[in-house]
């Protein structure tokens, strides 16, 4: 049998440190061979670079918010860790507001 998903129209989850962000239906990254890397969405596209690409690549339903923060703090080890965390949380919330992201527990 085909696997069927039934996303609920309301309540797309909340951004906690232990929730798993995942790109919403209809949102995907373009292929690695296509430059520039872009988040494709219904009727829109968001060009990604550096940290934003690192974040979106990890929004696969397998990384927690906390893991993403730890990963990026390693990659951007010269930046102030608290600032990295705040920037990531801000960006994830923005993507959810844009309906590009869901959070699962």
């Amino acid at each position: 049998m085909r696997s069927l998903r039934s996303p609920s129209p309301l309540g797309r989850g909340v951004c906690h440190l232990n929730s798993f962000p995942r790109l919403a239906p209809g949102c995907r990254l373009n292929e690695k061979t296509q430059q520039p890397r872009t988040l494709l969405m219904p009727e829109r596209a968001l060009r990604l670079n550096g940290p934003s690409l690192e974040i979106v690549e990890r929004c696969d339903g397998k990384h927690t918010v906390e893991q993403i923060i730890v990963d990026l703090q390693k990659i951007y080890s010269k930046a102030e860790p608290h600032k990295v965390e705040q920037d990531i949380l801000g960006y994830l919330n923005l993507l959810q507001k844009e309906r590009a992201l869901d959070f699962q527990l």
Partner: protein, 368 residues
Amino acid sequence: MTSTIPNPLALIAELTHRCPLHCVYCSNPLELQSRTTELTTEVWSRVFKEAAEAGVLQADFTGGEPLARPDIVELVCAARSPGLYVNLITSGLPLDEAKLAALVDAGLDHIQLSFQGAREDTANEISGTKSHAQKLRVLEWLRQHGIAVTLNFVIHRRNIDQLEQMLAIAESSCATRIEFANVQYYGWAFANRENLLPTREQLNRSVEFLKREQERLQGKIRIEFVVPDYYAKYPKPCMGGWGRKLMLITPSGDALPCHAAQVIPGLAFENVRDRSLHEIWEQSAAFQKFRGEAWMQEPCKTCDRRELDFGGCRCQAWLLAGHAAATDPVCSLSPIRPKVDAILTGINAAPPAQLFVKPAWLYRPNPA
């Protein structure tokens, strides 16, 4: 020399002009192309590949009704395989569960389902056929397949007072995006304009309602609202500027800068059967004609807003001012604006009884 012309970002693929609906505001030209002139699967496949190579990110499959093409699943594969994001804009009428499953498996990214109203009687009147009940069935299948969905309600005088019921349909569905798009007056909508333009009071009420709802549904459902530009102070940045972002291919392969460009006399369109998409984008005279600012007249030429709205819509300038390089006449700075105001006054001064009686619609026929 490197090119200074930006890439096209989206390709609007009008796969066919055939359609089971006869909507009175259809954006197709009055002269519809017949089935015998339609591009083959092979040519479309080449076009999608060339589009991806030229930097296009998204392909919008539209028509007519794109599902009228028997090769629609193959076409979705052909567009998805070079990496394009594939959006199917459909009435949902020819859809069944097996076809939907095949489309999803082929890599379809998103479906935009059009609605003609919230109530069966209005929706069927506007589409000229029994269509509403099938759309509600389609909504249920879409939920089961978990595909991303936008609902598109085309708004006008006869249904703008049903926004609350339309939103209720959307909220109970799996859609994460809703477009309330007021009719824009081209093609069949231009022919039916006197019976479609909402009153100012209707428009104001709808704007207030949707502002509230946008706030309430933030983060859950994205609501887009397109106002009828006859009521606007400044024109819309039509197609994001002529030859700047979008390219439309007609069923027979003509490459146009927008849906309505064929109304402008003297423009010669090149065909994707004869030339590559990239060459047409960069070199075709029709795309060059209103690209940039050199063609602009006053007041656009020296206007601070010219990089925001690019002078508005060239087709509307032709339709209302009789001159395609004129400032879009809906602009409050246009010398022709009084003509638009006179059209609005005609609607707003008319007795309500006259405005809401069922008109003699000019329905869009189905081409051979």
